[in-house]
Symmetry: C2
Subunit: 255 residues, 2 copies
């Protein structure tokens, strides 16, 4: 490793009291000096939201086993902005986000606070990785911790291209059942929405957003295929969004 | 136009009581049948957030001049999901988002609720356009309305590729000063953050996120250049985020 004691900034979107960030904190402690800034409550599905209309508070927080960190009443992207822009004395060597409860694959990564935290780190010039585990009820983080350590060491060794992050999804299986690592592309998985109508005790109508994940992945090079087949999925992600293929067509519209 | 009375779904992120959505509603009424579902309060910088942990309410709302719509206690992406997935009897022919107070260009489009509403429409298979005006204090929407009508008619005529939306930025100038339309790519503009520390009346520390827009655009084909030179900027945007150029390198890491 290039850094003997790399500075690791740790965040997530399930909140600083979640199981996933605790497991990731344990893993990262084996590699370097860890600072935790994470949302004070669950911020799932906040995407790349940032807090511009409300004051932000940063409170020290501790958990068992000497876990110390800072709870922020903001989004995952806020946490990374605040940490790198103001809060930390020195820029971290790497930003680590997760371990998310549930996968972040396909189109759904647009809604993910976990991935957006890593995107924010990338935009601020720090190599960043998002980790998600393909279950909402994890009891076993052994594989996740092994993956997090290997991927973090690898990124510290090799670096990442400017503007690119790694989106890592981990299958729900034992270490012995895992087939290893697969470099993938972002697949076609998406969330098919449903809106459930209910009546509150005062007779007013309200709705819950619900739905199910639909996976139309057609290629075994995609993230959804890897996870369904017990591979760790590693997808390089970038945010240059221009559809260059369509530009000539658009010019022919003669606006 | 292919549709004599196209069904237009209108939303934004500044909220249903903003000036920008009213101007856009006036413009869209000249083209087709408009349904408005928009956030009940300002939701700037929410990015692609969706509401999964809170109940959603949808309340009829009206403003002067026969403006009728539905105020939603959710994000712009929520509004589009709800409208297309459940609320509307028929799928709209087009989703229109805006007119945003302030430009949405470069890296900053990731934070934009306005652009994310259009992205959500695109994901649900409906051609979508985001409109933003390059000022926070607009008094004159004449150019914006002209642009919105022309772009909406053009998209209804030509359609858009699956998965691609148009991000339209409008310069702050008179119609007579505008140089016309420029097809652009997403530029390098970003937000340089600062965190302002303050003390509340009870002596507790809090922070405001602040900062300034930095524009490092190097090419006159980029959105920031177009707007700085009084062109309407039209950028085709897509959300396939894989960094394909990096995949071979990553495979050589031998994870």
């Amino acid at each position: 490793m290039k850094n003997k004691n790399p500075r690791i900034l740790l965040t997530n979107d399930d909140g600083i009291y979640s199981k996933g960030i605790y497991a990731l904190w344990e893993a990262m402690n084996e590699i370097g000096d860890v600072t935790v800034l994470a949302p004070n409550t669950e911020k799932s599905a906040v995407g790349h939201a940032v807090t511009i209309s409300d004051p932000i508070r940063i409170e020290p927080c501790s958990r068992h086993g000497n876990f110390k960190g800072y709870a922020v009443n903001g989004t995952p992207a806020d946490c990374v902005k605040i940490a790198i822009g103001s809060f930390l004395d020195k820029k971290p060597n790497i930003v680590i986000s997760g371990i998310n409860a549930g996968s972040n694959m396909g189109t759904n990564i647009l809604y993910s606070g976990t991935v957006s935290a890593a995107a924010e780190g990338t935009m601020l010039g720090v190599p960043s990785i998002a980790f998600s585990l393909n279950t909402f009820n994890a009891n076993n983080y052994e594989l996740s911790k092994e993956v997090a350590i290997k991927m973090t060491k690898s990124v510290l060794d090799h670096g990442l291209p400017k503007g690119t992050l790694l989106n890592v999804n981990i299958p729900k299986c034992e270490i012995s059942e895992c087939n290893g690592y697969k470099i993938t592309s972002q697949g076609d998985e998406y969330f098919l929405d449903d809106l459930e109508k209910r009546e509150d005790p005062r007779g007013r109508i309200y709705y819950w957003m619900s739905g199910k994940i639909v996976n139309n992945d057609t290629s075994n090079e995609q993230d959804g295929y890897a996870i369904a087949n017990n591979w760790v999925s590693v997808t390089p992600i970038q945010y240059k969004l221009t559809d260059h293929k369509f530009i000539d067509d658009l010019k022919s519209w003669k606006l």
